[in-house]
Symmetry: C2
């Protein structure tokens, strides 16, 4: 079985490498035509997708999946329409491939240009949501990358039918059918085998929980771009516009608590705590937020505050819970974030631009916000048009990953016979 799986993955890798060579030469028009064909195919195949999804959900329920997982895996015709529309949206995005990042001429007359090219073959390992199949495939296709998808067992049938629609959309417009392939196995060994296929796969992006990301990182021989937790904080400075601070805190906590760029911690300078906390807490409690506070927060807000433990400063609740801590200085706020945060998205609210600059430069996070909600750390909100995730890594891509982050580059050097002395 494992030998067979090894052979299957070897063949998938070989096919992907071949497809990536063709995709690298495809024009923007060809890629856009394929994306439109894919969107059409997805709509045409709606009955088959629904039937496969029905079987997935039934199998999931039988094997005891919880309702949240079943809900993530479930499709209806409206969701399928929205999946097709997302593919069409990618047509509108500018194609980064072939653009010149920089060009210059050397004193010896050599003309050097640095040009964007596809990465090559990208592996995506994900859980639950079948829309990742088409979202990831369309972003990879637009950037000329071949992609190998490995979804979770709870959506294997849906993913397979969706991936077939993508392959057919490619082949009917002259791009390789193997531009997008799905690993036909829910065996966990397939993940490890994929992670070893560095002969063919240039990058793996795991999209899922911490356990999945860690398993991939531990076994991968190629680069892995990780999308870990967001333990994000907002700091209320003494010079803050307190009404603005309250609005941003409420937004950053309540607008979508399950998002990685929502805040888990609020740090308040003690000089404004008495003035700020009661009204802010009332607004949060009104929205059902549980406040876990340090001793001074408890003193100011009373017994409705749950006493915070050390663990609270390091927890991504993804829920209507906010840890609140008083600090005596901006430095203490920065130190807290450095020690307990996950370097994802952090914010300061202040009218003092010197304090803001110190925070922006001193907090080592992918995105740092001044007088704005950290919920804006998002490819769409940054204007990238789409995103494949928010990288918590520091190499190649940090923060929102749009199309440019799915590219590599090469140098083209033109001379007139120059040789090296």
């Amino acid at each position: 079985m494992t030998q067979r799986l090894t052979d299957v993955l070897e063949e998938i890798g070989r096919q992907a490498a071949g497809a990536s060579r063709e995709l690298a030469q495809a024009t923007t028009a060809q890629k856009n035509e394929a994306l439109l064909a894919i969107a059409r195919r997805i709509q045409q195949e709606t009955p088959a997708i629904l039937a496969a999804n029905e079987a997935d959900v039934r199998a999931g329920a039988e094997s005891g999946l919880n309702s949240a997982m079943l809900d993530r895996a479930r499709l209806d015709s409206k969701r399928i329409q929205s999946i097709a529309n997302s593919v069409r949206d990618v047509v509108q995005l500018p194609d980064p491939i072939g653009s010149v990042i920089a060009e210059w001429t050397r004193p010896n007359g050599l003309r050097i240009s640095k040009k964007r090219v596809p990465i090559g073959v990208i592996g995506i390992i994900y859980e639950s949501r079948p829309n990742v199949t088409t979202d990831a495939a369309s972003l990879c296709l637009k950037t000329g990358n071949a992609v190998i998808l490995r979804g979770g067992s709870e959506a294997i049938r849906s993913n397979t039918v969706l991936a077939e629609a993508v392959s057919h959309g490619c082949s009917e417009t002259g791009l390789p059918e193997t531009s997008v392939q799905i690993v036909p196995s829910t065996d966990r060994a397939a993940v490890t085998l994929m992670a070893q296929l560095d002969r063919y796969i240039h990058l793996i992006i795991p999209r899922g929980g911490r356990a999945l990301i860690e398993a991939v990182t531990a076994s991968a021989r190629m680069p892995v771009i990780k999308h870990y937790d967001g333990i994000c904080a907002l700091y209320v400075d003494p010079a803050a516009d307190l009404q603005m601070a309250e609005q941003i805190v409420v937004n950053a906590k309540c607008q979508r608590p399950s998002a990685c760029n929502s805040i888990e911690t609020m740090l308040v300078h003690e000089s404004v705590a008495h003035q700020f906390l009661p009204q802010c807490a009332a607004a949060l409690w009104e929205r059902g937020v549980e406040i876990r506070g340090d001793s001074m927060t408890q003193q100011i807000l009373g017994s409705r505050v749950v006493p915070a433990t050390e663990q609270d400063w390091r927890t991504e609740y993804l829920d209507l819970i906010l840890a609140v801590r008083m600090v005596r200085s901006l430095d203490e706020a920065i130190d807290h974030i450095d020690a307990h945060g996950s370097h994802h998205s952090d914010a300061i609210v202040t009218e003092d631009s010197a304090a803001a600059q110190k925070f922006l430069n001193g907090v080592d996070s992918a995105a740092v916000f001044w007088n704005a909600s950290p919920r804006f750390n998002d490819g769409g909100e940054f204007g990238f048009g789409a995103e494949i995730g928010i990288s918590t890594d520091r190499l190649h891509a940090r923060g929102p990953m749009g199309l440019e982050e799915l590219t590599s580059y090469k140098y083209l050097v033109e001379g007139d016979g120059q040789v090296r002395e």
Copy 2:
């Protein structure tokens, strides 16, 4: 022992993380002052460095190292002067940290800027040459990165004294002494332990042979930027200026055969083979090059040609040997390079710009040359001022790695109270 080593590495990692936070805030002036102090220290410590090196070379000779390895490890006062000068050269390079890569304003008024920041902590694992200690340290320091060095046993004493000079240069100018640390163990387990320290180390760069790079890649949990072999080819097109082709071939093979960007293979279009090969071969033979050819090359050049085997198309000789093959078309040349090369540095010689463009776009290598020697694939020759190596990876850095490739970035977002709808 291994537990002790684990503790030692944990402590080194912790110190490096602390140092990197300070280094990230250091000004260009501070970093340059430290580099000048380091260069002074290296010169002052010349007697101690020579004594340590003497002991390294003696120990190496006793343990049976070959003369090439001993030569790479050996220092004299002239080499030490040149090491100090290389550190001073880094002072002159522009500091990429803090520069704005891009900035834009969103329709909702958010002002976003993408700013260069240090990567954080970089691990360098290397062999033999003690100058890597100071070269790597000075490039990392200039870019605000803390660095953990792990050199080979054949130069451990030299590396230690050099690293001390670097640390003292840092501390006397107010930068953390632990900005640069050396792993005080030649135990192979130290490499594996370093590769697991992803809590602290953001990037590992192995500088050495294939076995070292593979060992690091297999165990590393953080990104690794690899500098693998260069199996580079030059293609002589029917429309080539044959005299130019000969000059470039001679340069690309003979000027420094041990360099990764020297060519190992020459592909010649069969329509110009009779005209081109005899004279080019004479020039190569005159310089002591062994030619290994396919059957047509043997026919044209006679019995002095060594018959090439399949293995020759995949071998990095690093020596005065050139594999020569006839091709019937540009496509065949591109296919050969794709199948047998290492995607490093490849060249075409032609006066036909359509053929050149096809080659430049079709060959998937870090740098592709038109009418120029691939020996120019080098940070210095590209104008980067210095390089830490030539990456054969496609993520984060491809081709020559200069100072910019030792940086990451972060997004600074300024608003006026914006919240997400």
